[in-house]
Symmetry: none
Amino acid sequence: MKEDFLTNFREIVIETPVDIIIRQIRELISSGQLKAGDRLPSERILSERFGVGRTYVRDAIRKLEFYGILKTHPQSGTVVSGLGIIALEGLITDVLQLNGNDFNSLVETRVLLETNSAYFAATRRTDDDLMGIKKALAAYELAVVDGRPSMEEDLMFHLKIVEATKNSVLMSLMMIVTPDILSFFTKNKVCSGDKPISALREHYEIVEHIENQDADKAKASMRNHLDDLLNVPN
Amino acid sequence: MKEDFLTNFREIVIETPVDIIIRQIRELISSGQLKAGDRLPSERILSERFGVGRTYVRDAIRKLEFYGILKTHPQSGTVVSGLGIIALEGLITDVLQLNGNDFNSLVETRVLLETNSAYFAATRRTDDDLMGIKKALAAYELAVVDGRPSMEEDLMFHLKIVEATKNSVLMSLMMIVTPDILSFFTKNKVCSGDKPISALREHYEIVEHIENQDADKAKASMRNHLDDLLNVPN
DNA sequence: TGCTAATATTTGGTCAACCAATTAATTGGT
DNA sequence: ACCAATTAATTGGTTGACCAAATATTAGCA
């Protein structure tokens, strides 16, 4: 009987002061009160505000800095690192602050990022990159021929290409944009009919150009591929 | 000639006390003197042995704990957690890679975003947009001729162009990337000499193309402008 | 001798005070 | 009125001392 009580109480998690501070700072960022490039209040102010020792504040900042969310400049201040914001979960929509009719912006930006990713990927791809891309393409093809929903495999294929660019910032930006794209398409039930078949052919074409390291053709084929996609919602 | 020295010296990485301790602990583990499950000497002993303050030792332990290499038990001791040892091997190189080529990615991505922004801005600009851009350009020119630091006005000019694209996602991404760009340039004291003069001329050229709504030329002139900028740090 | 309980020591955790670098404010001179 | 140099305030960095929990040691008894 006593065991039951124990198992119930087990779920209680002690929240250390550090965790509390981290949560609060994260909320400040995700709510938009702290934007990219903004300066954090000084450690002393924060410690006073939270009613805890400065050590806790420092530890919290260190941890967030480790995640890449904050950047500390000695004797100057601590600022919010823009690219690190990506690490925050569920924050994406807040960052982009999408308002319904902005979907065109979203797609347009994706096209922009991806066409150039194809260009860079064709330029810098290693054999490992190529193998990863082909693997993702195979998974996508498998989903298509089975008639299964292939949206996830499709996105994975595209992300693999971005990965091959060796551009971490480009990768990060794609990670920001991708979830919103995905949520829209799943919500609007696009991606039906015989679209995946033609898309598959285009995927093969893109991979071929990347394999041959023909950057311009890779870019062009990616643009062609995404233009098809762009005509659907519009 | 001086350039050669610079490129040689660039590779020097300042090793903070924390990094030194991390390296030493790493060596202790990889040499087998510290096996999984072993207890680390107390923080006081370590600080005395390394000849540094206990804070450094604590920070180093925290960092290693973050990687999953160590596990601290309050009021008891710190033990080596066997699982994360693989991660420890590439730890330092990972950190260096992140800090090293990230800037290239940053600049490359900025060029990408901005050149296409110029394109879209030329296509969609309203008269109000044009006025705003010219206003920002005037402010920039004023700063340049006064010899004042013109970095902020420069960025404002670029942001105004992005604004004219009417693409909110593009705008958001630029806002994410911009602070990191800015912090780098202010830190490395670039943007000196007669650079602003030529930059000013290029700005005028960009505005001219945007005014004439010549998208391709606007894009080309923006690329030319940013390529100059890209050649500085590299 | 063997075991328990009281005690001393060691442990990581926490705090307040101080340091040097940076930034803001003030002053003094032109 | 403006600008330079000096001073004051603020910042993150660092240190040593102190705290409670955990452990090792010792004292005391059967």
